[in-house]
Amino acid sequence: MTQSETRLEGILLDEGLTVTFSELTQLCGSNTRMVSLMVTEGLLRPQGALPEEWRFDGLEVRRARRAVRLRRDLKLNIAGTALAIDLLDEIEHLRERLRVLEHQLGQRQARPIR
Protein backbone atom coordinates (compact mmCIF):
# COMPACT_ATOMS: atom_id res chain seq x y z
CA MET A 1 0.00 0.00 0.00
CA THR A 2 1.27 3.41 -0.94
CA GLN A 3 -0.04 6.79 0.12
CA SER A 4 -0.43 10.15 -1.46
CA GLU A 5 -1.67 13.43 -0.10
CA THR A 6 -3.32 16.26 -1.94
CA ARG A 7 -5.28 19.39 -1.05
CA LEU A 8 -8.30 19.76 -3.23
CA GLU A 9 -10.96 22.20 -4.21
CA GLY A 10 -14.02 20.40 -5.53
CA ILE A 11 -16.98 21.68 -7.47
CA LEU A 12 -20.22 21.80 -5.52
CA LEU A 13 -23.12 20.43 -7.53
CA ASP A 14 -25.81 22.84 -6.42
CA GLU A 15 -28.26 25.34 -7.89
CA GLY A 16 -25.41 27.76 -8.54
CA LEU A 17 -23.63 25.47 -11.01
CA THR A 18 -24.64 25.35 -14.67
CA VAL A 19 -23.38 22.95 -17.31
CA THR A 20 -24.06 22.63 -21.03
CA PHE A 21 -25.55 19.71 -22.91
CA SER A 22 -22.16 18.32 -23.90
CA GLU A 23 -20.68 18.85 -20.43
CA LEU A 24 -23.57 16.97 -18.88
CA THR A 25 -23.19 14.16 -21.40
CA GLN A 26 -19.56 13.83 -20.40
CA LEU A 27 -20.28 14.05 -16.67
CA CYS A 28 -22.67 11.14 -16.78
CA GLY A 29 -20.48 9.08 -19.10
CA SER A 30 -23.32 8.79 -21.55
CA ASN A 31 -24.18 9.93 -25.07
CA THR A 32 -26.16 12.87 -26.45
CA ARG A 33 -29.00 10.57 -27.51
CA MET A 34 -29.51 9.37 -23.95
CA VAL A 35 -29.40 12.88 -22.50
CA SER A 36 -31.91 14.15 -25.12
CA LEU A 37 -34.13 11.22 -24.27
CA MET A 38 -34.03 12.15 -20.59
CA VAL A 39 -35.02 15.72 -21.48
CA THR A 40 -37.87 14.52 -23.73
CA GLU A 41 -39.09 12.25 -20.94
CA GLY A 42 -39.18 15.22 -18.55
CA LEU A 43 -36.59 13.57 -16.34
CA LEU A 44 -34.30 16.56 -16.84
CA ARG A 45 -35.54 20.12 -17.16
CA PRO A 46 -32.87 22.37 -18.61
CA GLN A 47 -33.15 26.12 -19.09
CA GLY A 48 -33.17 27.10 -22.78
CA ALA A 49 -35.15 25.90 -25.76
CA LEU A 50 -32.64 24.40 -28.20
CA PRO A 51 -30.15 21.70 -27.25
CA GLU A 52 -27.23 24.08 -27.81
CA GLU A 53 -28.87 26.52 -25.37
CA TRP A 54 -29.65 23.93 -22.72
CA ARG A 55 -28.24 24.68 -19.26
CA PHE A 56 -28.49 22.18 -16.43
CA ASP A 57 -27.90 23.01 -12.78
CA GLY A 58 -25.95 20.90 -10.29
CA LEU A 59 -29.03 19.07 -9.03
CA GLU A 60 -29.87 18.01 -12.59
CA VAL A 61 -26.33 16.67 -12.94
CA ARG A 62 -26.93 14.43 -9.95
CA ARG A 63 -30.29 13.29 -11.32
CA ALA A 64 -28.80 12.57 -14.74
CA ARG A 65 -25.88 10.57 -13.34
CA ARG A 66 -28.18 8.59 -11.12
CA ALA A 67 -30.57 7.93 -14.00
CA VAL A 68 -27.79 6.70 -16.29
CA ARG A 69 -26.51 4.29 -13.64
CA LEU A 70 -29.93 2.94 -12.69
CA ARG A 71 -30.92 2.47 -16.32
CA ARG A 72 -27.70 0.62 -17.10
CA ASP A 73 -27.42 -1.49 -13.94
CA LEU A 74 -31.05 -2.48 -13.56
CA LYS A 75 -31.85 -2.59 -17.27
CA LEU A 76 -34.70 -0.10 -17.00
CA ASN A 77 -36.40 1.60 -19.90
CA ILE A 78 -36.56 5.40 -19.97
CA ALA A 79 -40.05 5.65 -18.48
CA GLY A 80 -39.12 3.28 -15.66
CA THR A 81 -35.95 5.25 -15.05
CA ALA A 82 -37.87 8.52 -14.84
CA LEU A 83 -40.34 6.97 -12.42
CA ALA A 84 -37.54 5.57 -10.22
CA ILE A 85 -35.75 8.93 -10.13
CA ASP A 86 -38.93 10.83 -9.24
CA LEU A 87 -39.74 8.34 -6.49
CA LEU A 88 -36.20 8.45 -5.12
CA ASP A 89 -36.36 12.26 -5.00
CA GLU A 90 -39.66 12.07 -3.20
CA ILE A 91 -38.34 9.52 -0.71
CA GLU A 92 -35.39 11.79 0.02
CA HIS A 93 -37.71 14.71 0.58
CA LEU A 94 -39.99 12.67 2.85
CA ARG A 95 -37.02 11.35 4.85
CA GLU A 96 -35.90 14.91 5.43
CA ARG A 97 -39.42 15.91 6.60
CA LEU A 98 -39.52 12.85 8.82
CA ARG A 99 -36.20 13.75 10.44
CA VAL A 100 -37.48 17.25 11.15
CA LEU A 101 -40.78 16.03 12.56
CA GLU A 102 -39.21 13.31 14.68
CA HIS A 103 -36.84 15.88 16.08
CA GLN A 104 -39.78 18.12 16.90
CA LEU A 105 -41.73 15.34 18.58
CA GLY A 106 -38.93 14.47 20.99
CA GLN A 107 -39.68 14.61 24.72
CA ARG A 108 -42.59 16.77 25.85
CA GLN A 109 -42.91 16.61 29.59
CA ALA A 110 -42.83 18.70 32.71
CA ARG A 111 -39.34 19.60 33.91
CA PRO A 112 -37.96 19.97 37.41
CA ILE A 113 -37.60 23.51 38.67
CA ARG A 114 -34.07 24.85 38.26
Partner: protein
Amino acid sequence: MEYKDYYKTLGVARDATQAEIKRAYRKLARQYHPDVSQETDAEVKFKEINEANAVLHDPEKRAAYDALGSNWHAGQNFRPAPGETHQNVHFSAEEMAEFSEFFSSLFGREFRADEQGRQRRRGQDQTVRLPIDLEEAYRGGTRQIRLDVPELGADGRPRMRTKTLNVRIPAGVTHGRQIRLSGQGTPGVNGGPEGDLYLEIEINPHRLYSVEGKDIQLKLPIAPWEAALGASVSVPTLGGTVNLKVPAGSHSGQRLRLKGRGLPGEPPGDAIVVLEIVTPLATTDDAKAAYREMAERLHFNPRAEMGV
Protein backbone atom coordinates in the same frame (compact mmCIF):
# COMPACT_ATOMS: atom_id res chain seq x y z
CA MET B 1 -6.10 -14.25 -1.81
CA GLU B 2 -9.58 -15.09 -0.57
CA TYR B 3 -11.83 -17.61 -2.20
CA LYS B 4 -15.18 -16.10 -3.20
CA ASP B 5 -18.33 -18.13 -2.84
CA TYR B 6 -20.38 -16.69 -5.68
CA TYR B 7 -23.35 -18.93 -4.94
CA LYS B 8 -23.49 -17.66 -1.38
CA THR B 9 -23.21 -14.06 -2.57
CA LEU B 10 -26.33 -14.50 -4.68
CA GLY B 11 -28.01 -16.69 -2.08
CA VAL B 12 -28.61 -19.61 -4.43
CA ALA B 13 -27.77 -23.33 -4.29
CA ARG B 14 -24.83 -24.70 -6.28
CA ASP B 15 -27.28 -26.53 -8.51
CA ALA B 16 -29.51 -23.50 -9.11
CA THR B 17 -30.90 -23.12 -12.63
CA GLN B 18 -29.81 -20.17 -14.79
CA ALA B 19 -33.32 -18.72 -14.31
CA GLU B 20 -32.96 -18.92 -10.52
CA ILE B 21 -29.59 -17.20 -10.70
CA LYS B 22 -30.97 -14.42 -12.86
CA ARG B 23 -33.91 -13.91 -10.53
CA ALA B 24 -31.71 -13.81 -7.44
CA TYR B 25 -29.29 -11.38 -9.10
CA ARG B 26 -32.01 -9.01 -10.30
CA LYS B 27 -33.59 -8.84 -6.89
CA LEU B 28 -30.30 -8.20 -5.09
CA ALA B 29 -29.24 -5.65 -7.71
CA ARG B 30 -32.40 -3.62 -7.04
CA GLN B 31 -31.97 -3.97 -3.30
CA TYR B 32 -28.31 -3.00 -3.09
CA HIS B 33 -27.98 -0.57 -5.96
CA PRO B 34 -25.95 2.28 -4.42
CA ASP B 35 -28.40 4.83 -5.82
CA VAL B 36 -31.30 3.15 -4.09
CA SER B 37 -29.95 1.48 -0.97
CA GLN B 38 -29.53 3.25 2.35
CA GLU B 39 -27.01 0.69 3.57
CA THR B 40 -23.57 2.14 4.14
CA ASP B 41 -21.77 -0.73 2.39
CA ALA B 42 -24.16 -0.85 -0.57
CA GLU B 43 -21.38 0.02 -3.03
CA VAL B 44 -19.21 -2.93 -1.93
CA LYS B 45 -22.15 -5.28 -1.77
CA PHE B 46 -23.36 -4.27 -5.23
CA LYS B 47 -19.91 -4.89 -6.66
CA GLU B 48 -19.79 -8.36 -5.11
CA ILE B 49 -23.22 -9.20 -6.48
CA ASN B 50 -22.14 -8.08 -9.95
CA GLU B 51 -18.94 -10.07 -9.78
CA ALA B 52 -20.86 -13.20 -8.76
CA ASN B 53 -23.36 -12.64 -11.54
CA ALA B 54 -20.67 -11.98 -14.14
CA VAL B 55 -19.40 -15.49 -13.48
CA LEU B 56 -22.57 -17.44 -12.76
CA HIS B 57 -24.92 -16.03 -15.40
CA ASP B 58 -22.76 -17.42 -18.20
CA PRO B 59 -22.80 -21.25 -18.28
CA GLU B 60 -19.24 -21.40 -19.64
CA LYS B 61 -17.77 -19.18 -16.92
CA ARG B 62 -19.89 -20.92 -14.34
CA ALA B 63 -18.48 -24.28 -15.41
CA ALA B 64 -14.94 -22.91 -15.09
CA TYR B 65 -15.72 -21.69 -11.58
CA ASP B 66 -17.43 -24.95 -10.62
CA ALA B 67 -14.32 -26.83 -11.78
CA LEU B 68 -12.50 -25.45 -8.71
CA GLY B 69 -14.66 -27.85 -6.72
CA SER B 70 -17.19 -27.35 -3.97
CA ASN B 71 -14.90 -27.84 -0.99
CA TRP B 72 -13.88 -24.20 -0.79
CA HIS B 73 -15.65 -21.77 1.47
CA ALA B 74 -15.82 -17.98 1.36
CA GLY B 75 -12.76 -16.19 2.76
CA GLN B 76 -10.55 -19.28 2.62
CA ASN B 77 -7.03 -18.66 1.38
CA PHE B 78 -7.03 -19.52 -2.29
CA ARG B 79 -4.11 -20.14 -4.66
CA PRO B 80 -4.92 -21.24 -8.17
CA ALA B 81 -3.16 -24.37 -9.38
CA PRO B 82 -0.97 -23.89 -12.47
CA GLY B 83 -3.15 -24.04 -15.53
CA GLU B 84 -6.26 -23.34 -13.56
CA THR B 85 -6.64 -19.90 -15.08
CA HIS B 86 -9.25 -20.07 -17.76
CA GLN B 87 -8.32 -19.50 -21.32
CA ASN B 88 -11.49 -19.20 -23.25
CA VAL B 89 -13.76 -16.86 -21.36
CA HIS B 90 -13.90 -13.14 -22.06
CA PHE B 91 -14.37 -10.21 -19.76
CA SER B 92 -14.08 -6.53 -20.48
CA ALA B 93 -11.19 -4.48 -19.17
CA GLU B 94 -13.67 -2.60 -17.00
CA GLU B 95 -14.84 -5.77 -15.33
CA MET B 96 -11.25 -6.80 -14.71
CA ALA B 97 -10.42 -3.49 -13.04
CA GLU B 98 -13.55 -3.60 -10.91
CA PHE B 99 -13.55 -7.14 -9.67
CA SER B 100 -11.56 -8.96 -7.00
CA GLU B 101 -8.10 -10.46 -7.09
CA PHE B 102 -9.70 -13.89 -6.86
CA PHE B 103 -11.71 -13.13 -9.96
CA SER B 104 -8.77 -11.93 -12.02
CA SER B 105 -6.61 -14.86 -10.92
CA LEU B 106 -9.28 -17.15 -12.24
CA PHE B 107 -10.13 -15.42 -15.47
CA GLY B 108 -7.22 -13.08 -15.92
CA ARG B 109 -4.80 -14.67 -18.34
CA GLU B 110 -6.98 -14.54 -21.40
CA PHE B 111 -7.77 -10.92 -20.77
CA ARG B 112 -4.13 -9.96 -20.37
CA ALA B 113 -3.01 -11.73 -23.50
CA ASP B 114 -5.93 -10.41 -25.45
CA GLU B 115 -6.45 -6.81 -24.55
CA GLN B 116 -3.58 -5.39 -22.58
CA GLY B 117 -1.67 -2.70 -24.38
CA ARG B 118 -4.53 -1.95 -26.69
CA GLN B 119 -7.56 -0.40 -25.10
CA ARG B 120 -7.28 2.94 -23.37
CA ARG B 121 -10.11 3.36 -20.96
CA ARG B 122 -11.26 6.10 -18.64
CA GLY B 123 -11.37 5.05 -14.98
CA GLN B 124 -14.65 4.71 -13.15
CA ASP B 125 -16.38 7.53 -11.31
CA GLN B 126 -16.68 6.86 -7.61
CA THR B 127 -19.31 8.15 -5.21
CA VAL B 128 -18.54 8.22 -1.51
CA ARG B 129 -20.73 9.41 1.34
CA LEU B 130 -19.18 12.06 3.54
CA PRO B 131 -20.82 12.54 6.94
CA ILE B 132 -20.16 15.95 8.46
CA ASP B 133 -21.43 17.81 11.51
CA LEU B 134 -23.90 20.64 11.09
CA GLU B 135 -21.35 23.09 12.53
CA GLU B 136 -18.97 22.08 9.75
CA ALA B 137 -21.65 22.65 7.12
CA TYR B 138 -22.28 26.08 8.62
CA ARG B 139 -18.68 27.21 8.84
CA GLY B 140 -17.13 25.22 6.02
CA GLY B 141 -13.54 24.04 6.34
CA THR B 142 -11.10 21.39 5.24
CA ARG B 143 -11.84 17.75 5.70
CA GLN B 144 -9.39 14.88 5.45
CA ILE B 145 -10.74 11.72 3.88
CA ARG B 146 -9.14 8.33 3.30
CA LEU B 147 -10.14 6.12 0.43
CA ASP B 148 -9.17 2.65 -0.60
CA VAL B 149 -8.86 2.80 -4.36
CA PRO B 150 -8.36 -0.14 -6.66
CA GLU B 151 -5.67 0.20 -9.26
CA LEU B 152 -4.17 -2.10 -11.81
CA GLY B 153 -0.64 -3.02 -10.86
CA ALA B 154 2.21 -3.42 -13.34
CA ASP B 155 1.32 -7.11 -13.52
CA GLY B 156 -2.18 -6.24 -14.70
CA ARG B 157 -3.80 -7.37 -11.48
CA PRO B 158 -5.97 -5.13 -9.32
CA ARG B 159 -4.64 -4.10 -5.92
CA MET B 160 -5.71 -1.62 -3.27
CA ARG B 161 -4.05 1.67 -2.46
CA THR B 162 -4.94 4.09 0.35
CA LYS B 163 -5.35 7.64 -0.81
CA THR B 164 -5.59 10.60 1.55
CA LEU B 165 -7.31 13.73 0.32
CA ASN B 166 -7.81 17.09 1.96
CA VAL B 167 -11.03 18.48 0.62
CA ARG B 168 -12.50 21.90 1.11
CA ILE B 169 -16.06 21.81 2.41
CA PRO B 170 -17.86 24.96 1.24
CA ALA B 171 -19.81 26.84 3.94
CA GLY B 172 -23.55 26.32 3.60
CA VAL B 173 -23.41 22.88 2.02
CA THR B 174 -26.63 20.94 2.56
CA HIS B 175 -27.63 17.32 3.03
CA GLY B 176 -27.42 15.22 -0.14
CA ARG B 177 -25.34 17.71 -2.15
CA GLN B 178 -22.39 16.32 -4.03
CA ILE B 179 -18.89 17.70 -4.40
CA ARG B 180 -17.14 16.65 -7.58
CA LEU B 181 -13.38 16.11 -7.50
CA SER B 182 -12.18 15.86 -11.03
CA GLY B 183 -9.70 13.06 -11.73
CA GLN B 184 -9.83 11.57 -8.21
CA GLY B 185 -11.83 8.47 -9.12
CA THR B 186 -10.52 5.11 -10.24
CA PRO B 187 -7.35 5.32 -12.37
CA GLY B 188 -7.70 4.79 -16.10
CA VAL B 189 -6.70 1.60 -17.86
CA ASN B 190 -3.72 1.62 -20.22
CA GLY B 191 -3.06 5.32 -19.84
CA GLY B 192 -6.69 6.36 -20.02
CA PRO B 193 -7.82 9.34 -17.92
CA GLU B 194 -8.88 8.93 -14.30
CA GLY B 195 -12.53 8.88 -13.29
CA ASP B 196 -14.01 11.51 -11.00
CA LEU B 197 -14.76 11.29 -7.31
CA TYR B 198 -18.11 12.49 -6.00
CA LEU B 199 -18.50 13.15 -2.29
CA GLU B 200 -22.09 13.07 -1.14
CA ILE B 201 -22.64 15.19 1.95
CA GLU B 202 -24.57 13.69 4.82
CA ILE B 203 -25.28 15.95 7.75
CA ASN B 204 -25.09 14.12 11.05
CA PRO B 205 -28.04 14.38 13.42
CA HIS B 206 -27.63 17.26 15.85
CA ARG B 207 -28.58 17.48 19.51
CA LEU B 208 -30.45 20.78 19.13
CA TYR B 209 -31.24 21.33 15.48
CA SER B 210 -32.85 19.52 12.61
CA VAL B 211 -32.17 20.65 9.07
CA GLU B 212 -34.37 21.00 6.02
CA GLY B 213 -32.42 22.33 3.06
CA LYS B 214 -30.75 25.48 4.33
CA ASP B 215 -33.27 26.03 7.12
CA ILE B 216 -32.46 24.85 10.58
CA GLN B 217 -35.19 24.11 13.03
CA LEU B 218 -34.95 24.40 16.78
CA LYS B 219 -37.42 23.42 19.45
CA LEU B 220 -37.36 26.17 22.04
CA PRO B 221 -38.70 25.42 25.51
CA ILE B 222 -40.53 28.34 27.13
CA ALA B 223 -42.31 28.72 30.47
CA PRO B 224 -46.13 29.08 30.52
CA TRP B 225 -45.89 32.69 31.72
CA GLU B 226 -43.44 33.54 28.93
CA ALA B 227 -45.98 32.21 26.42
CA ALA B 228 -48.91 33.94 28.10
CA LEU B 229 -47.35 37.32 28.80
CA GLY B 230 -44.71 37.50 26.09
CA ALA B 231 -40.99 37.66 26.78
CA SER B 232 -37.61 38.27 25.28
CA VAL B 233 -35.64 35.03 25.39
CA SER B 234 -32.17 33.85 24.32
CA VAL B 235 -32.01 31.40 21.41
CA PRO B 236 -28.90 29.42 20.50
CA THR B 237 -28.30 29.50 16.72
CA LEU B 238 -25.39 28.17 14.67
CA GLY B 239 -23.94 31.67 14.49
CA GLY B 240 -24.30 32.34 18.23
CA THR B 241 -26.96 33.37 20.73
CA VAL B 242 -29.65 35.78 19.54
CA ASN B 243 -32.57 37.42 21.32
CA LEU B 244 -36.07 36.47 20.30
CA LYS B 245 -39.27 38.27 21.22
CA VAL B 246 -41.93 35.72 22.10
CA PRO B 247 -45.29 37.43 21.54
CA ALA B 248 -47.90 37.41 24.29
CA GLY B 249 -50.45 34.64 23.81
CA SER B 250 -48.03 32.21 22.14
CA HIS B 251 -48.74 28.51 22.15
CA SER B 252 -46.87 25.22 21.82
CA GLY B 253 -45.99 24.36 18.22
CA GLN B 254 -45.98 28.00 17.14
CA ARG B 255 -43.21 28.75 14.65
CA LEU B 256 -41.13 31.90 14.70
CA ARG B 257 -38.70 32.64 11.91
CA LEU B 258 -35.25 34.16 12.44
CA LYS B 259 -34.48 35.35 8.95
CA GLY B 260 -31.03 34.45 7.60
CA ARG B 261 -29.94 32.54 10.73
CA GLY B 262 -29.83 29.14 8.98
CA LEU B 263 -27.06 27.78 6.75
CA PRO B 264 -25.25 30.47 4.74
CA GLY B 265 -25.90 30.91 1.03
CA GLU B 266 -27.51 33.13 -1.58
CA PRO B 267 -30.03 33.48 -0.02
CA PRO B 268 -29.13 32.05 3.39
CA GLY B 269 -31.55 29.75 5.17
CA ASP B 270 -33.62 30.73 8.18
CA ALA B 271 -33.66 29.48 11.73
CA ILE B 272 -37.16 28.31 12.55
CA VAL B 273 -37.96 28.31 16.22
CA VAL B 274 -40.77 26.01 17.30
CA LEU B 275 -42.08 27.03 20.70
CA GLU B 276 -42.73 24.35 23.25
CA ILE B 277 -44.35 25.27 26.51
CA VAL B 278 -42.72 23.37 29.32
CA THR B 279 -44.43 23.21 32.69
CA PRO B 280 -42.40 23.17 35.90
CA LEU B 281 -42.90 20.12 38.11
CA ALA B 282 -44.74 20.91 41.34
CA THR B 283 -42.09 19.49 43.62
CA THR B 284 -41.93 22.26 46.21
CA ASP B 285 -44.63 23.68 48.53
CA ASP B 286 -44.24 27.02 46.79
CA ALA B 287 -44.84 25.51 43.37
CA LYS B 288 -47.84 23.56 44.61
CA ALA B 289 -49.32 26.70 46.12
CA ALA B 290 -48.81 28.60 42.85
CA TYR B 291 -50.53 25.86 40.82
CA ARG B 292 -53.44 25.75 43.31
CA GLU B 293 -53.84 29.48 43.09
CA MET B 294 -53.93 29.31 39.27
CA ALA B 295 -56.55 26.57 39.42
CA GLU B 296 -58.72 28.66 41.73
CA ARG B 297 -58.38 31.95 39.93
CA LEU B 298 -58.30 31.01 36.23
CA HIS B 299 -61.39 28.78 35.86
CA PHE B 300 -59.70 27.07 32.95
CA ASN B 301 -61.03 23.89 31.35
CA PRO B 302 -58.53 22.68 28.74
CA ARG B 303 -61.06 20.08 27.52
CA ALA B 304 -63.92 22.53 26.90
CA GLU B 305 -63.76 21.92 23.14
CA MET B 306 -64.40 18.23 23.74
CA GLY B 307 -67.66 19.04 25.48
CA VAL B 308 -66.63 17.46 28.76
